[in-house]
């Protein structure tokens, strides 16, 4: 079984982004970029399935600018066998990415797609579900446990109120939540090895997919900042202020 793992290049999760003064977006100049953390979890899970003998091959795919090659190399350093970059400088929205992945999935005859539940830049959380719908496949979002066999995958999901376990007939799409696994650290020898793994570059046009944006961003603004409050001296003052100033407790 081939597993496809989409990986996105995003602003590193430790960076607090700043909104540009012209309102056109956030300032990305000289900002540290990294693989979306949920996608790292997806790569890890796919590589573990290969190590367990369930999967034969793990293919990482990224959609975006040439710099996404770095993200693919990171995925290969974690253990993905090869990379596919769908290269474009267009801004890609979830439906466009889902259509690109659909084309790759068909080309590669993948039976399982494991992707992050959301990217930490756009926070949309749509691509996996859209891909599953376009392919007519079942999905298991927010996975915290994945048991894959050859014809089915059993997934425990983190849902409102608790956990839910689903059994999906393959082919299927799984999206990863935080507690699915702890991604491995990449070692220097594996980084070197990853440089020699195959990476092909294709274009949306070659895949026959239009990536035109459907939604336009009118402006990006800073959220209202909370006023820093006050430090209280002790518990008695806290209770007094909550009762008499904030009036949130009786």
């Amino acid at each position: 079984m081939k597993i496809l793992v989409p990986v996105k290049r995003v602003v590193d999760f430790n960076v607090k982004v700043r909104v540009r003064s012209d309102g056109a977006g956030v300032d990305l100049a000289n900002i540290k970029m990294a693989m979306n953390p949920f996608d790292e979890i997806a790569v890890e899970e796919a590589v573990r399935l290969k190590e367990a003998g369930v999967a034969d091959e793990v293919i990482a795919v990224s959609c975006g600018a040439a710099a996404c090659q770095e993200t693919l190399r990171s995925a290969m350093a974690m253990g993905a066998d090869r990379g596919v970059l769908v290269q474009t400088d267009e801004e890609l929205q979830p439906l466009a990415v889902a259509r690109l992945l659909q084309a790759i999935c068909k080309q590669e005859e993948c039976r399982l797609v494991i992707c992050g539940k959301q990217a930490i830049d756009g926070d949309a959380g749509q691509t996996g579900q859209m891909l599953a719908a376009l392919l007519g496949w079942p999905q298991a979002t927010f996975a915290s446990r994945v048991v894959a066999e050859h014809e089915r995958v059993t997934v425990t999901r983190e849902v409102d109120g608790g956990l839910e376990t689903l059994e999906l007939t393959l082919p299927a799409v799984v999206t990863t939540d935080l507690r699915l696994n702890q991604p491995r650290y990449v070692t220097l020898p594996n980084i070197m090895k990853a440089k020699k793994k195959p990476l092909v570059v294709v274009t949306p046009e070659a895949l026959g997919v239009s990536v035109a944006a459907r939604v336009t961003t009118v402006r990006v603004t800073e959220p209202a900042q909370r006023q820093a409050g006050r430090l209280v001296a002790d518990v008695a003052e806290l209770v007094d202020r909550l009762k008499n100033e904030a009036k949130v407790i009786a």
Binding site: A133, T154, V159, T217, L238
Partner: protein
């Protein structure tokens, strides 16, 4: 403008978030249809009929909706999508799983976590863990939106709306529910509670989490929440997590105990009306957004707080 809202329920009653999703719909138009899909969910449809602002309740009663799974729900919405200008659901685990499928099959964008509606095609949503707000415009013929519950005040009840039964959609049979572990709790629902008491890594253990926080939550009638660090460490179950990738809450009072305040956590609670932070580290970022900060050892401060509250 005709709007379809997917009702979320447990076959007994509507989830609170549905009241907020309907409220968002009222900002878009006045022909609002509330879709109740389930197996044996008449009582939910009755309750749905009482929501103010709803012009029609659509009831689909069939076994394939018993488990509220995204594949069949999306196929059902798709089968009835014609004529709707908007399709809405709460940004809950069901809504977030279902609506992207609907949008993809309609060939339109989906807009996630809408927190404000500027006009018929312009919406505001948080990006980058809420560190920026994007105002986006969609020219799609059908706009598919998930609604962040905390941003819209729940609609009232008291109406008496007609209920219309609809035909079921296809049963795709791609997925089987094996089991659910629902955390049973006497406490209010985390996302709808007026008061949330939340614990972080500072509590040190699951035992401490419960011993320290439960008396305070009991006294305040609060829901319990947790930071990602506390959930990862096993102090609290996963569905207690508040933050960018967990629950988004905006209670009247949020009490953060032993939580340092990573940006991912702040993203989930910074719209609370009043924030109280108890932390022994004066440098903790949580103090920069707390209305009232108490720099103290939580193991003495929290029991003192319970006593002081009486």
């Amino acid at each position: 403008m005709t709007i379809l809202v997917l009702a979320e329920h447990d076959h007994q009653s509507l989830k609170a978030a549905t009241f907020n999703a309907v409220a968002a719909a009222t900002a878009l138009g006045d022909d609002i249809h509330l879709l109740v899909a389930g197996a044996d969910c008449q009582s939910v449809a009755q309750q749905a009929a009482s929501l103010a602002g709803v012009s029609q309740v659509l009831l689909v009663d069939a076994l394939q909706y018993r488990d509220q799974l995204a594949e069949n729900l999306a196929a059902l919405i798709l089968a009835h999508a014609e004529g709707y200008d908007y399709i809405l659901a709460a940004a809950s685990s069901v809504g977030k799983s279902t609506l992207p499928r609907v949008a993809a099959l309609l060939g339109v964008a989906q807009i996630s976590d809408v927190i404000a509606i500027e006009d018929a095609q312009t919406f505001v949503r948080p990006i980058y863990a809420g560190n920026a707000l994007a105002t986006v415009r969609s020219a799609d013929p059908v706009k598919v939106l998930t609604i962040r519950s905390t941003a819209f005040d729940a609609v009232a009840i008291g109406a008496s709306t007609p209920i219309k039964e609809l035909d079921a959609g296809p049963d795709l049979g791609l997925v089987r529910l094996v089991g659910r572990e629902v955390v049973q709790s006497e406490r209010p629902d985390l996302t709808a509670a007026d008061v949330v008491v939340s614990g972080g890594r500072g509590l040190g253990s699951g035992e401490n989490y419960h011993q320290v926080l439960e008396p305070l939550a009991d006294r305040l009638g609060a829901a319990l929440g947790a930071s990602r660090a506390a959930v990862d460490a096993g102090f609290a179950p996963n569905d207690y997590q508040v933050g960018q990738t967990g629950k988004i809450v905006a209670p009247q009072l949020y009490v953060a105990v032993g939580i340092s305040g990573a940006i991912q956590h702040l993203a989930g609670m910074k719209d609370s009306k009043v924030i109280v932070a108890v932390n022994k580290d004066p440098e903790a970022p949580i103090f920069q957004i707390a209305d009232y900060g108490l720099e103290a050892d939580l193991f003495t401060a929290v029991p003192d707080l319970v006593r002081e509250l009486g």
